[in-house]
């Protein structure tokens, strides 16, 4: 191995050198900081990092903190509905736009532009539109529908759906763009074949087209998942976690404890839990999607 490995490296030396920045980033900026976080989660760090060791005490505290448990539960609800709605809506938009509609590029732009706005903007503007005193509810009541109620942002039981609404508005255009791109790549012969066989259109989409779009679907789900795990700005801008703790999310829990509450130990314990969760959920997806069949031998 030794001599051959040396020869292999020498032949590909430039490639090794070219990948050094990436290696440095991965090792120092990603793995290093993750290791640092994991280490601190076993310490009693408060405002400043400490080097002591307190075992799993922070984790015990963490899972005894109702706000953290609420955050996890909220994340699960948001993840489920956000993924589902974004995906279904994005697919429907793409399919409908793909029906030779007029003003196609106009529709496409309209559905995609929210993705260009920041999450902060998405949160602020929807908070305003859904605000019972200012927005839709006030307008409807102004029209005489005095019993009209749309109080999602102020109702602890509905507030998550307000957040989901804003994020769906923000993200479903991306799914549309990806799926539309996939649809454009499908061979016209498939459509002819299904017409000969007399298969109804909805059936073709469900049973034939969607499976063919697997890479696009996975990519869009991966991109959406990234934004779910990191979901922070939109919640802060829209509800700041309220009413009460009804719309708290893990990233916000981490931030608040890291900075506002000066509780680094607990914050890093929470981020370690997130890290492990992401590893467990995403590692198989990433492996199967991007590595398993990477058969390229240069």
């Amino acid at each position: 191995m030794g001599a051959e490995f040396t020869r292999h490296v020498r032949r590909n030396l430039v490639a090794y050198i070219a990948l050094l920045p990436m290696a440095a980033v991965v090792i120092f900026a990603y793995l290093g900081t993750m290791a640092w976080s994991v280490r601190l989660s076993f310490s009693s760090s408060k405002l400043l990092p400490r080097n002591d060791f307190v075992g799993f005490a922070q984790y015990v505290t963490l899972f005894d903190t109702s706000r953290w448990l609420t955050s996890l539960g909220n994340l699960a609800v948001i993840a489920f509905f956000f993924l589902l709605i974004c995906f279904v809506l994005g697919c429907l938009l793409a399919i409908f736009i793909d029906q030779n509609v007029r003003a196609e590029s106009l529709f496409r732009t309209v559905f995609l532009y929210p993705y260009a706005m920041s999450f902060v903007v998405a949160g602020l503007i929807w908070q305003w539109i859904l605000n019972p005193d200012l927005g839709i509810q006030a307008t409807m009541r102004g029209f005489g529908f005095s019993g009209f109620v749309l109080d999602w942002v102020v109702n602890p039981r509905m507030v998550l759906y307000a957040v989901i609404l804003a994020t769906v508005w923000h993200g479903s255009g991306l799914v549309m763009a990806l799926i539309l791109a996939g649809l454009r790549g499908i061979d016209g012969e498939i459509w002819r074949a299904t017409r000969i066989d007399g298969i109804p259109a909805w059936r073709v989409y469900l049973s034939i087209v969607l499976p063919m779009l697997r890479p696009m679907i996975i990519t869009s789900l991966v991109l959406l998942s990234i934004s779910i795990v990191k979901m922070y700005d939109v919640v802060v801008a829209m509800t700041n976690g309220g009413p009460g703790t009804a719309s708290e999310v893990p990233a916000k829990f981490i931030m608040d404890n890291l900075f506002e509450r000066a509780n680094i130990g607990l914050a890093t314990a929470a981020s370690t839990v997130m890290l492990i969760t992401v590893l467990l959920v995403m590692a198989p997806v990433i492996y199967s999607q991007y590595f398993r069949k990477s058969g390229r031998a240069a």
Binding site: E4, R7, H8, R10, R11, G295, A297, A298
Partner: protein, 359 residues
């Protein structure tokens, strides 16, 4: 001028061995075809000769010089790919001259060489075009031209014609043959098309699962396949295979499969063939001839005929054994009729049932 020697070569991808302990010498100026089904390792082998794939064991020698770890550009090779691999953002002229420009060759020389190659391949009028504006055949000519201008000693062709239609394929096949005559360079040509192999090669190396099954001239590979695999891989229509056993009857040796009996005394066995040995008889359709009143004729019944233009491929049953055989248009061979044939035993092949190797 170059010879190529591969010594004890191992190539693997990850833990999967692709080429195993391979020895092969290609003579200076020889046209060698690597023939085999897809996945047999022939393209990987070619890639390794070109220096594009790292070997995991063994050596590659060009003119007795070890080039196992030499950079592709320093091996003095030109290579033509199945997908043409033309640089899409460059004109034909730039495509042809790219390598020369990198090597820092004088502009005048580059121009002369490009002109020479373009004229040789009749693509001079295409020099300003982008690859996307060319037809398949033109693209392949440019790809060949790119290899030509490099003054290579060794040319590597990786299934260069398989993306073309039949007519173009035949045309370019001929041109490659002419090119070889003109340049007299060593050429290594990978294909899964037996016609290309048979028409182009000085020698054919038939590969399967990373191992060379037979290395010989086209005629010998066709007529005397080294094993059952080679026998059935080459030849169209395909070789008939009948499993049976040898039986001695006096001083004569017979092949028997059920009621089917064939006198094979005249077959030249490479190994002593004892009676009772289980064998596979390989018979090419063209070696089963319409009987013209000969005594050795075997009578059978035609079940199906396939007209093939110049001749007809007939499927007939002889004493319970179904064989395909070629007949002329005037031989009166029709379905459901009786038909008599003689079998040219000297051109038949016998293979061991167990190992598949020729007897």
């Amino acid at each position: 001028m170059s010879s190529v020697s591969l010594e004890n070569l191992d190539i693997s991808y990850g833990n999967v061995p692709i080429v195993k302990k391979l020895d092969l010498t290609i003579r200076d100026g020889e046209f060698l075809v690597l023939l085999g089904p897809s996945g047999c390792g022939k393209s990987t082998l070619l890639s390794a000769i070109g220096g594009l794939t790292d070997v995991s064991g063994g050596r590659i020698l060009f003119n007795d010089k070890d080039v196992t770890w030499t950079d592709p550009k320093d091996r003095g090779i030109g290579m033509v790919f199945q997908s043409y691999a033309l640089y899409p953002t460059m004109s034909v002229e730039r495509n042809l001259s790219f390598g020369l420009r990198i090597a820092g060759i004088d502009r005048a020389i580059i121009e002369r060489k490009v002109k020479w190659a373009a004229e040789l391949l009749q693509i001079a009028h295409l020099l300003d075009r982008k690859p996307s504006a060319l037809s398949g055949g033109q693209r392949q000519r440019v790809a060949i031209g790119r290899a030509l201008v490099r003054d290579a000693d060794i040319f590597l062709f990786d299934e260069p014609l398989s993306n073309l239609d039949a007519k173009l394929r035949a045309e370019l096949r001929l041109e490659i043959k002419k090119l070889h005559k003109t340049l007299k360079s060593t050429m290594i040509y990978v294909t899964h098309d037996q016609i290309e192999a048979l028409t182009l090669a000085d020698r054919i190396a038939v590969m399967k699962d990373g191992i060379i099954q037979q290395l010989d001239t086209p005629l010998n590979v066709y007529n005397k396949p080294a094993n059952e695999f080679v026998g059935s891989f080459l030849g169209s229509p395909a070789m008939n295979k009948v499993e049976g056993q040898l039986a001695a009857d006096g001083d004569r040796l017979f092949f028997a499969a059920g009621d089917f009996r064939l006198d094979v005394s005249r077959y030249l066995f490479a190994q002593t063939a004892e009676s009772g040995r289980k064998v596979v008889l390989g018979l090419r359709p063209e070696h089963i001839l319409p009987a013209s009143g000969s005594a050795a004729a075997i009578e059978g019944k035609v079940s199906l005929v396939e007209p093939m233009g110049s001749s007809i491929l007939a499927w007939s049953v002889f004493d319970g054994v179904s064989l395909s055989h070629l007949v002329g248009q005037d031989d009166g061979c029709e379905a459901d009729r009786a038909f008599a044939v003689t079998i040219d035993v000297q051109k038949a092949s016998f293979f061991d049932v167990e190992t598949g190797w020729r007897l």
